[in-house]
């Protein structure tokens, strides 16, 4: 099988997974115990108009397969329904939320990848020494902290005790995305983003350090490293030109597996910091049992993870010339 075939297969798999999730999303809310309408109207502020709207939107009087088809049709048209809480379209809610989440998650992830690789490299390089134990211990420590707990600790320190950052956000800080030229807006946006991103970075850094370290160590035990040493290459050259490149391959795969964790972490972090992103949206939707919004947010988060995995596959594809099957 050629290399482009491999890529094609991955793409198909991503699409199939997305489709299955969409279907699952649909059926999950149909297999709830009890009648769908009464469940859906368990929401506190359901008015008769709302109930009528739900019935119409979900077409609950029609056979299941009809509902499924119309669900798919609506999805294709970009209609995810209306949120119970604010009567706005789910799509616009999601869009606003994701513009807030993406920069924060990107910042946190990039920071953690950079520092994780650096400290993992350091730990592998200094194998068997005190520095390695220190690096590994601190990584394990951060890895074991529950995400929401770390977030609250950071609030305790930086907001409660030191007062360096404001608590929570109103959402106006992010208008800089509409008007990128404003430095003030940018600054306040960054301020609001910083602690959540830092929390994410610290949680992930531990995981990545351990992954990079073990990936490198395993690479360092390979035969071609011994050959490199026999060729009289310096340790530094061996690490940088041979071990690193090969060691990063499994790291890419393992980092890809952490995207699910990033999704979970984001939900918890945004809830703790009241950061108006996709995670908080999902958390609030859960608490309010706002099912259309819940469905939409879950779908979007899952699609993000699927896309991220696909990008990771692409990266791996570029790095490894051996991929043929």
């Amino acid at each position: 099988m050629s290399r482009s075939d491999w890529l094609f297969r991955r793409l198909v798999r991503a699409l199939v997974t997305t489709f299955v999730i969409v279907t699952f999303n649909f059926f999950l809310f149909r297999v709830m115990p009890g009648d769908a309408v009464s469940n859906l109207s368990r929401i506190p502020h359901a008015t008769p108009q709302l109930k009528a709207e739900i019935a119409a939107q979900f077409g609950l009087d029609q056979p299941v397969w009809h509902q499924y088809i119309s669900y798919l049709q609506q999805l294709a048209q970009g209609n995810l329904g209306l949120s119970y809480q604010d009567q706005q379209s789910v799509v616009s809610n999601l869009w606003q939320a994701i513009t807030h989440s993406v920069p924060m998650v990107a910042l946190g992830t990039v920071l953690s990848v950079v520092f994780g690789i650096a400290s993992g490299l350091w730990a592998a390089w200094r194998r068997g020494t005190v520095q390695e134990k220190l690096s590994t211990s601190s990584a394990m420590f951060f890895y074991s902290l529950p995400t929401q707990f770390l977030g609250m600790i950071l609030i305790l320190i930086f907001v409660g005790w030191l007062g360096w950052f404001p608590s929570g956000g109103t959402g106006n800080e992010f208008d800089f995305l509409n008007d990128p030229s404003s430095a003030d807006q940018m600054a306040s946006g960054l301020r609001a983003m910083f602690l959540p991103a830092l929390t994410l970075a610290l949680i992930l850094y531990g995981q990545y350090t351990l992954i990079v370290r073990s990936g490198l160590l395993e690479t360092l035990g390979e035969d071609y490293i011994l050959t490199a040493k026999a060729k009289g290459l310096s340790d530094r050259r061996i690490m940088m030109k041979h071990a690193f490149r090969n060691g990063m391959l499994p790291v890419v795969t393992l980092v890809a597996l952490s995207f699910g964790f990033i999704a979970a972490g984001t939900i918890l972090i945004e809830d703790v910091f009241s950061y108006p992103g996709l995670g908080l949206l999902l958390a609030d939707a859960i608490r309010a049992r706002d099912y259309p919004l819940l469905q939409g947010a879950f779908l979007l988060i899952t699609i993000c993870v699927i896309v991220a995995n696909l990008l990771a596959d692409l990266l791996y594809f570029r790095l490894d010339p051996r991929i043929t099957t």
Binding site: Y224, L226, A230, K231, N246, R322
Partner: protein, 333 residues
């Protein structure tokens, strides 16, 4: 003519977590001249590969090393780490067992051979790239294959490419650790032919480590038989075959099945001794069909038994002759 490679009393032990050291190589000495091929033969675990690694100083930090290794008059083990690193691949190079994995999978073969040259500085730039082509042709690989990745080569070709890489800096000594294991017989023959031709043409000193005795008798003029970390006999291959002076050597030759013979294939019963314990007396005594009392108490020293022929067996000691039966030292079944 002084030897190109001289190994003197090389001993290698490994410290383990449990405590006792494992003595893998116990005082090994041999020398190889220019253009000469020496076979280092023995069972698995006798220390022959470890000896090769020791010659290049490729040992883990749990190793404890004694003795000297001299190449073209210069001792390399006792200098600084920098000097040792400088000697690697410049004066002495190695072809590994299972060279299938000796190459980095994400770099091309050509890149890796060029790297071997540029690091030493003898050839660089365009000259190095040109030489890659020449080296590959030397071992029978079309020059344009240099752009390929290791996984695109067959096992035999990879082994040949490893050989080309080893010769990149015109080394004086070539170490080959079971270069033909895991290759089929046809390819085996090609590689051995190649080794013979190259050592003759380039006047290399070759140490060929293997457990395959027939290979040694064909390819090498001299052989050293190793057992439990020591050399028990060393000499010209034809003499070792005709007049072995150590029971182990004799049994090894008898274990070689002959195609045209009806003889039963003999095997040597028992297993080699554990290397993490002290060995009292001759290490081979428990398995030796000709052992007597003194073999279990006193360790035999290496003694000359012929022209450039040495063996470590009490049978060769004239003072102990009466301990052995009146029959000749070289018994046949």
């Amino acid at each position: 003519m002084s030897a190109m490679l001289e190994v003197d009393d090389l001993s290698i032990a490994f410290r383990t977590e449990e405590g006792p050291q494992v003595e893998a190589v116990r005082g090994v000495s041999f020398s190889v001249n220019r253009g000469e091929r020496l076979g280092l033969v023995g069972e698995s675990g006798c220390g022959k590969s470890t000896t090769l690694f020791g010659i290049m100083g490729l040992l883990p930090n749990t190793a404890v090393v004694g003795g000297t290794v001299t190449i073209d008059g210069r001792e390399i083990l006792h200098g600084t780490q920098e000097e040792l690193r400088a000697a690697r691949w410049a004066d002495v190079a190695m072809v590994f067992q299972g060279a299938m994995n000796a190459f980095n999978p994400v770099k091309t073969i050509g890149w890796q051979i060029v790297e071997a040259m540029e690091v030493k500085g003898k050839y660089s730039g365009a000259q190095a790239r040109q030489r890659v082509g020449e080296l590959l042709e030397l071992v029978g690989i079309p020059a344009e294959r240099a752009q390929r990745f290791p996984h695109e080569f067959s096992g035999g070709m990879r082994q040949r490419a490893a050989l080309a890489m080893a010769l990149a800096n015109d080394p004086k000594v070539l170490l080959a650790d079971e270069p033909t294991t895991a290759l089929d017989v046809m390819v085996q023959a090609q590689i051995l032919d190649l080794l013979e031709r190259l050592t003759d043409e380039l006047e290399l000193a070759l140490v060929l480590v293997t457990h395959d005795l027939p290979m040694v008798t064909e390819t090498c003029r001299r052989a050293a038989i190793m057992y439990a970390g020591k050399i028990v006999e060393e000499g010209p291959t034809d003499i070792l075959y005709a007049d072995p002076r150590h029971p182990y050597t004799r049994l090894l030759f008898e274990a070689m099945p002959e195609i045209l013979d009806d003889r039963e294939v003999a095997s040597i019963p028992g297993t080699p001794p554990r290397m993490d314990r002290e060995i009292v007396g001759c290490s081979f005594a428990p398995r030796c069909p000709s052992a007597v009392a003194v073999c279990g108490t006193r360790e035999p020293q290496i003694r000359v038994v012929g022209t450039r022929h040495e063996a470590a067996c009490h049978r060769n000691d004239p003072d102990l002759a009466e301990q052995f039966s009146a029959s000749a030292v070289t018994e046949s079944t």
